[in-house]
Symmetry: C2
Subunit: 201 residues, 2 copies
């Protein structure tokens, strides 16, 4: 096999390292970029460099931000006293999209997982307790919004147990049948959960 | 919705413009890059810039290359006198991977398509005829390797007709049952073609 362009080959190799991008999609992306104007490709490259250079973690909530504290922690219009605990910053993103929650966040930056050797000290639980002790934040409610899998459950139980010592209401988001689906397609674990968590009509 | 990082937002927007990358995959790629070292992200960005800056078309065969003429046209070990005609440079790539063909290529850079208003003059057919007239190349055989769809067929017929005036053998790659599949899963058009093109055992 003879390669006619080393530059193309290198670009394909680099792109194929991205998640969800096999060699074929990397090839398609490289060919697409070849057809774009130089300006567009420069913009893409520059954006990726900026992403890495200007983004860090908020020292309060732990989410990804260009400024510290992040615009959510820094926004006086966000309801003080309510904290939503999530596993990672992308969850903040997802919850923000619903426009449902007006409080602040706490990003754990991981989940307790004995199998992967991640204990309570490896995620931002201490930082959560510090915030609970802060008079400025005056936290009334902690909403747990972790993923409904074994690690998420274990971490939720762990945090809930810790917070028994604090004068704070601990809640969790509802797990049940997703909207717009048919019961037929729901797995048994979700259905059991939906029955156990039934509410008055 | 409150955005905590403009840089992340811009990166997701840019990545979502790539082919086969929706907003969700763009988000996944951006988050992945955030977790990489700055050096790795710089390498990726630099590679994309180089891709655009150093790659052009070979003036002989029309494929993508960093040097003109391309390493295939320039390789004295490649069989002179046999040209394989393909639609786009990625086809060169695919054929080279088989290590089956040792001649040279001619990339049309498109296909005759009345529906998309692409005629014979819009693709590199004139350049093919120039090569056929060249004494240096001394072409004995033109192998047509276009896609087996309506446009590929029409373009193959068109080129074949033009080449009747030249002292050159015109062949096409075999279309038939792909290796490793079962007849059960083959569409009728392919099966008909396989019967019509049957060869002596």
């Amino acid at each position: 096999m003879q390669i006619t362009s080393e530059a193309l080959e290198r670009a394909i190799e680099e792109l194929a390292r991205l998640p969800g991008t096999g060699r074929k999609s990397a090839q398609r992306i490289a060919i697409h970029l070849l057809k774009q104007s130089e300006e567009r490709v420069l913009t893409l490259a520059e954006t990726l460099i900026q992403l890495k250079k200007s983004v860090s973690r908020c020292s309060v909530c732990g989410t990804i931000t260009d400024r510290d504290p992040c615009p959510i922690c820094n926004n006086p219009k966000r309801v003080n006293g309510t904290i939503c605990v999530v596993e990672e910053f992308q969850d903040v993103y997802i919850i923000e999209k619903t426009n449902e929650f007006r409080g602040r966040y706490h990003v754990l930056g991981g989940i307790i997982s004995p199998l992967e050797n991640i204990g309570p000290d490896d995620i931002r639980i201490k930082e959560l307790l510090t915030r609970l002790n802060s008079e400025e934040e005056d936290i009334q409610e902690v909403i747990l919004a972790l993923n409904p899998d074994a690690e998420g459950e274990a971490t939720s139980y762990y945090i809930n147990k810790l917070l028994l010592n604090y004068d704070v209401r601990v809640t969790r988001i509802a797990y049940g049948i997703p909207m717009g689906t048919e019961l037929e397609f729901i797995d048994e674990a979700t259905l059991s959960r939906a029955f156990a968590s039934r509410t008055a009509f």
